[in-house]
């Protein structure tokens, strides 16, 4: 790698300034606000504020509702990550083969990424709305008592599908780029070396895709923890009976709707710490097994 050395300090500072400013204004500032406010309790009308140290956290960890949100988040995030990464990889492998109309498929597979999360949510909501939804009718036709409005499990399946569908495009794009950067002669060499398609995939293609897969894993974890808020808000509002209330949705519910700013901020801090920890773990343990 070539090193470029700037003369003076003004130009380099100016060059990195926009990035720094954005990070400070949209991350460090609100994050530090959240940390500060998580130590405070406000009354319902916002007239008095009291510094309570860790009381907000203590209350949270005694609240069974919070553990419920953790469980929901775990199920939701694992399912979405596995589904969106797995399906995207499968689609990318298929699209990488030289077939007629590959360009068309690729374009169509890209489109869902351009759809806003809330709109994606509404789309799935309509399709699976028990009394109106096209696909819900089909499911009912098969004798399945499909009702995400009442059945928590159905609601969970619905948000998982919507969130995964939305993310597949993004993952697909990166996997396809990764696949296309693998020299064709490597695959041919493996074919001559006696490896069948399946073995070629697992011993040659997948290891070479691992930097891409690792990057996507990190991005997807962040996505399911934060960006899926819009989908859940549009499709289920965390219901029925909090069956789809993820941690990020609970932050919103308790803070914006419940008026418990301190408790909500404490949840934000925990969520933030969790994502930082998960990313750190991924870098520490998984990255070692990644071949760059």
């Amino acid at each position: 790698m070539r090193k470029v050395v700037f003369k003076g300090t003004l130009l380099p500072l100016l060059l990195i300034a926009p990035q720094i400013v954005i990070t400070v204004v949209f991350f460090y500032w609100p994050a530090s606000q959240a940390v500060w406010q998580s130590f405070l309790i406000q009354d319902a009308f916002g007239t008095t504020t009291e510094f309570v140290w860790l009381e907000n956290y203590q209350v949270l960890f005694k609240d069974p509702g919070y553990y419920n949100a953790m469980g929901v988040t775990a199920v939701f995030s694992i399912a979405v990550a596995v589904l969106s990464l797995g399906l995207a990889l499968l689609l990318a492998v298929m699209a990488d083969k030289q077939i007629k109309g590959a360009g068309f498929y690729k374009t169509m597979l890209m489109w869902p990424y351009a759809v806003a999360p809330a709109i994606a949510g509404v789309l799935w909501l309509f399709m699976f709305q028990p009394s109106l939804g096209v696909l819900a009718q089909v499911l009912r036709g098969w004798g399945l008592d499909w009702n995400p409005l009442l059945n928590g499990r159905h609601a969970m399946i619905l948000v998982i599908m919507a969130a995964a569908w939305k993310q597949i495009s993004y993952n697909f794009l990166f996997f396809l780029a990764g696949l296309q950067s693998i020299p064709k002669s490597l695959i041919e060499a493996a074919a001559i070396d006696g490896a069948g398609p399946r073995r070629r995939f697992w011993t040659v293609i997948f290891p070479l895709l691992s930097p891409t897969a690792f990057f996507l894993l990190v991005v997807n974890i962040v996505y399911v923890f934060f960006d899926t808020f819009g989908i859940i808000d549009a499709v289920t509002h965390g219901g029925p009976a909090k069956a789809t209330e993820t941690m990020v949705y609970k932050v919103f519910q308790d803070g914006r709707l419940g008026g418990d700013l301190g408790g909500s901020n404490a949840q934000s801090v925990i969520l933030m710490a969790l994502v930082i920890a998960l990313t750190a773990i991924q870098f520490k343990y998984i990255e070692r097994r990644v071949h760059y």
Partner: protein, 352 residues
């Protein structure tokens, strides 16, 4: 080890025909080089033998068995690629062992073969390295090693030296030749470099635009090129060509130059081919070529003289490096009649 036979092999991509019927029987242990300019179909031909391209028409047989419909892995061949195609995430050892593991070979036997190949190729101290930690020449040797350990029926080489610098290329060329002799494995080798082709080959296939122009030993091709293309491609600097008229054992070059070729039977419009190294200084009866020296390149042992004949045709001559020749001087060159090649003007085929 085995014979490899191509019978009327053709290839087309859709309506585009890229190989128009190649026939050759490669004997056990023979090294055959396919040489030609880029786009002549030489790599496609090799890839068809490997099973990486389908055969449109004709038969490819290895060890007497047609293999047209066999997968690459079932043909028992090993291939060395131009970019080496080493698995970047595997060590040198694993790169060589991969093909053997895929075939479910016994671990001890794999280890024995890999270590033996590593010893032959002087890679023993590099077995734990990853390909990116190796130099170009070392990568090339690993690619060779991966082919050797398989002990296949045939080696296929697809321009294996073209990514190396000039010095290393000469060195590896010698190593490949020695190794191939030592192992005695039937080999098919593709290159665009005629020097590489001449030095390595037991027999050469010169390809042009999907046609095998001539098949033979390097010296046969040099001495009796079947077409103007082969004449121009084999040998460096390239053969001189002049348009001429032939009749009654005489060849008229225009500009008043007449070459006497008493045993030539050709008549009509022809192309005359004379190699630069067959031109000598000084006139001789009936075979003199006067030129004005326009450029001289001194290469040390020899010098290349460029000029034009009175008729306007460009000519290159290779003369002794110590001969004193001045720029703009008038020279008379001569050539022995046996070194004059005649080709049909339209078809480019040799006529005698």
């Amino acid at each position: 080890m085995a014979e490899v036979e191509l019978r009327a092999v053709r290839k087309s991509f859709g309506a585009t025909k890229v190989i128009h019927g190649v026939d050759i029987k490669i004997a056990d242990g023979e090294l055959v080089v396919i040489v030609g300019p880029s786009g002549c179909g030489k790599s496609t031909l090799l890839r068809m033998v490997a099973g990486l391209e389908t055969v449109s028409e004709g038969t490819i047989a290895i060890d007497g068995m047609p293999v047209n419909d066999r997968e690459p892995k079932d043909r028992d061949i090993a291939m060395v690629f131009q970019n080496y195609a080493l698995y970047p995430h595997m060590s040198v050892y694993d790169n060589m062992a991969y093909g053997l593991r895929n075939r479910g070979m016994d671990k001890a036997e794999i280890d024995r073969r890999v270590r033996e190949a590593a010893k032959t190729l002087e890679l023993a101290h590099l077995l734990e390295r990853k390909p990116r930690q190796l130099s170009g020449g070392q990568r090339q040797r690993v690619a060779m090693g991966r082919a050797i350990v398989r002990e296949p029926k045939a080696f296929l080489f697809d321009e294996p030296l073209s990514n190396l610098d000039a010095k290393l290329r000469v060195q590896m060329r010698v190593e490949i030749k020695k190794l191939q002799r030592q192992l005695g494995v039937t080999s098919l080798y593709v290159t665009h470099d005629q020097v590489e082709a001449m030095t390595l080959a037991d027999r050469l296939i010169v390809m042009n635009a999907g046609v095998a122009e001539q098949i033979g030993t390097p010296m046969e091709l040099y001495a009796r090129p079947a077409t103007t293309f082969v004449g121009g491609f084999i040998g460096s600097p390239a053969m001189n060509f002049f348009p001429a008229r032939a009749a009654n054992g005489r060849v008229e070059l225009g500009g008043g130059i007449v070459l006497a070729m008493s045993n030539a039977t050709a008549a009509g419009e022809v192309t005359v081919g004379i190699r630069p190294e067959h031109l000598t200084l000084g006139g001789a009866d009936g075979v003199s070529l006067p030129i004005k020296v326009e450029l001289i390149e001194h290469l040390g042992a020899e010098a290349l003289v460029y000029g034009h004949l009175p008729g306007g045709a460009a000519l290159t001559a290779r003369i002794d490096g110590e001969t004193d020749v001045a720029l703009d001087a008038q020279l008379t060159l001569s050539v022995e009649p046996r070194h004059i090649h005649l080709f049909d003007k339209t078809s480019g085929r040799r006529v005698d």
